[in-house]
Symmetry: C2
Subunit: 344 residues, 2 copies
DNA sequence: TCTTAGCACTCTCATTCAGAGAGTGCTAAG
DNA sequence: CTTAGCACTCTCTGAATGAGAGTGCTAAGA
């Protein structure tokens, strides 16, 4: 997997090429490398080294007489072996932490929204955050509150302290006593069960109860998807469309990006599949599963809520500041783990 | 305002030019008009008419020897005086109505989300829907439900049957009896008051109550923004980014569109400012307040929930099928008024 | 053996030019 | 008032040209 077969000098020159290409967006010539004082060599020698880097597939020429541009393989080598994650400045760290701290009182979906906003702001790239799935959460308790007419508010709390609720429409108006009884009964059945199992459990027990309560519980069963099936929109958040859309190099990909914005599930997939549990993962250009992303890179990290993981990351051109972005995502995931483990 | 100073023949030719331009996206020549059999005339005569239309500012030539293209003024005349809204086919009507019907059980924000999805699907354009503001709603009742630890779920219902809730963190764990008392007291103060006034009202009455209840109510006051200040994300929904982003003519405007997607409030402004109460409004090209939209048109309608209005519409190139889109928005607003007035 | 100066070579990019094609405006006749 | 005919204008395409950038190669120097 590793490719440590570069000499010190080759690494220095690869680094120089990548870093100036990231800044300038144009092919880097041998003389540009010399001007940067990356190495004390003549341009002719640098050219020889560049040729060797090209033979190894790390850089390439757009055409015969242009400078060199890093390939995906070149960026990969840079990310794995050369680059160091950039530490944020003290004031940036304070700002990131402060911004995230303010979120942690909110529900887990809003946290994801805030995370995507924070990442986007500091990265100046499209940012995506996916909240951890609710399916594995364990039910703590179910409560039913009578509203007006036949409407009832169902409230479920989970072991990690999340709360979800929905308004149910019942066939007839249930009495407060019946509601309390039904809630007690259902809580008894479900406490400790994972959210994924609740429909099945309720169905299994439904036969055990008689007339007035049975209607209430049937209503609850009918509405349970509303309570627990989290729509993508609540779990997946993105921010910073303007950054990726303003890249002229992506004007051909605008249609693809539009599809991504419309299909949040697909967007989530990008950060989900590659996010390990802990650590920051970088996916470069053609390494992405979608061929439309051959000129984009994705930097993702994960964060932990209870026993489940959420993911977050940035999407931008392959020509991105990897050291800065890896450092940023890393720091945010550290802060989130810290802040979110505090909640019970 | 009106411009009825076109002859019958001029109108026919303007219509022909606009309708073929909308289809082909290219300048329309005099012979193309003749080929369409819009009028029984030679191309030379059509040319004379086109010259007159050009003098009146309704069409223009991109360059000396090209066909003609409609101007904003031309589209305006077409929309106001020539075009008829296109009625949807029976099966489309059924599909639209069915799709919207399924939504009306949900809360008012989800309805807006569904509306934008429906419009976008049928219009194949970017669609935006804005739910009516909650500020004018009148409070019906406030309930408080004890969760675990110091957390309390506050539930408010309004006169139009909307429900909003939030989890509040109290200083200390309140007893169930105190919660019930506090909820009763607050409901008494607030019932019938508009949402906009609740903070003030609670502050006014807070002095009247003594120790154990006072803490609870202070907690509710502190959390009331969470309950009622609707974040844009819940009110404003858009769908169909792929349609507008895939228009090659907007690849220059991608950065502007990105800003719109990021700033939902700005997007909402587009459909809000122009939406009258009832009826469909069309804003064409430079008529839009934002100069970046000089090549886009907006078709908006409104719908009513209780005494407040929500807005919805489509955003696309000026070269759009106005008759189809006006017909669609009109029908959707009709269906929504119908469906939403049913809820109490 | 490695480095470097020098130079020919290749490719892009911008400019210019010419010819084809599209569509108009004008004129004169019906 | 309408229309046939035609000259005119403008765009678009492709070819030709020259400048500029940057390389690869060779041969000399350390």
């Amino acid at each position: 997997m590793k490719k440590p077969d570069l000499t010190d000098r080759e690494e220095k020159i690869l680094r120089s090429i990548i870093e100036t290409h990231v800044r300038t967006a144009r092919p880097v010539s041998s003389s540009a490398v010399v001007r940067k004082r990356s190495v004390e060599l003549s341009s002719a020698t640098v050219r020889n080294v560049m040729r060797s880097l090209e033979e190894k597939g790390l850089i390439s020429q757009p055409h015969t007489s242009a400078g060199r541009v890093p390939t995906d393989v070149g960026y990969r080598y840079y990310v794995d072996n050369i680059m160091q994650p950039l530490t944020l400045t003290e004031s940036e760290r304070a700002e990131v932490r402060g911004g995230l701290q303010r979120l942690t009182g909110d529900d887990i979906g809003s946290v994801a929204a805030g995370v995507s906003r924070t990442i986007s702001e500091f990265a100046r790239q499209l940012a995506v955050a996916v909240a951890p799935p609710v399916e594995g959460e364990l039910i703590e308790q179910i409560r039913l509150v009578s509203l007006d007419g036949n409407r009832v508010l169902a409230v479920a709390t989970t072991r990690t302290g999340q709360t979800r609720s929905a308004v149910l429409k019942m066939r007839e108006h249930p009495s407060a006593a019946d509601l309390a009884k039904a809630a007690g009964l259902v809580s008894e059945w479900l406490t400790g069960a994972p959210v994924a199992d609740i429909e099945k459990k309720m169905k299994d027990h439904l036969g055990e109860v008689g007339h007035p309560l049975r209607d209430v519980i049937a209503g609850l069963l009918a509405g349970s998807p509303q309570i627990f099936r989290v729509r993508g929109g609540e779990r997946i958040h993105y921010e910073g469309a303007r950054y990726i859309l303003s890249h002229p190099e992506f004007s051909d990909d605008a249609a693809f990006l539009g599809e991504m914005f419309d299909d949040e599930e697909a967007l989530a997939e990008l950060v989900r599949t590659r996010a390990g549990e802990g650590g920051v993962t970088v996916t470069i250009g053609r390494e992405n599963s979608r061929k439309e992303m051959k000129r984009m890179s994705v930097v993702v990290g994960s964060y932990r809520v209870g026993s489940r993981f959420g993911q977050m990351g940035v999407i931008g051109p392959t020509r991105m500041r990897y050291s800065r972005l890896v450092g940023l995502v890393d720091y945010i995931s550290e802060v989130l783990d810290d802040l979110l483990s505090e909640r019970r």
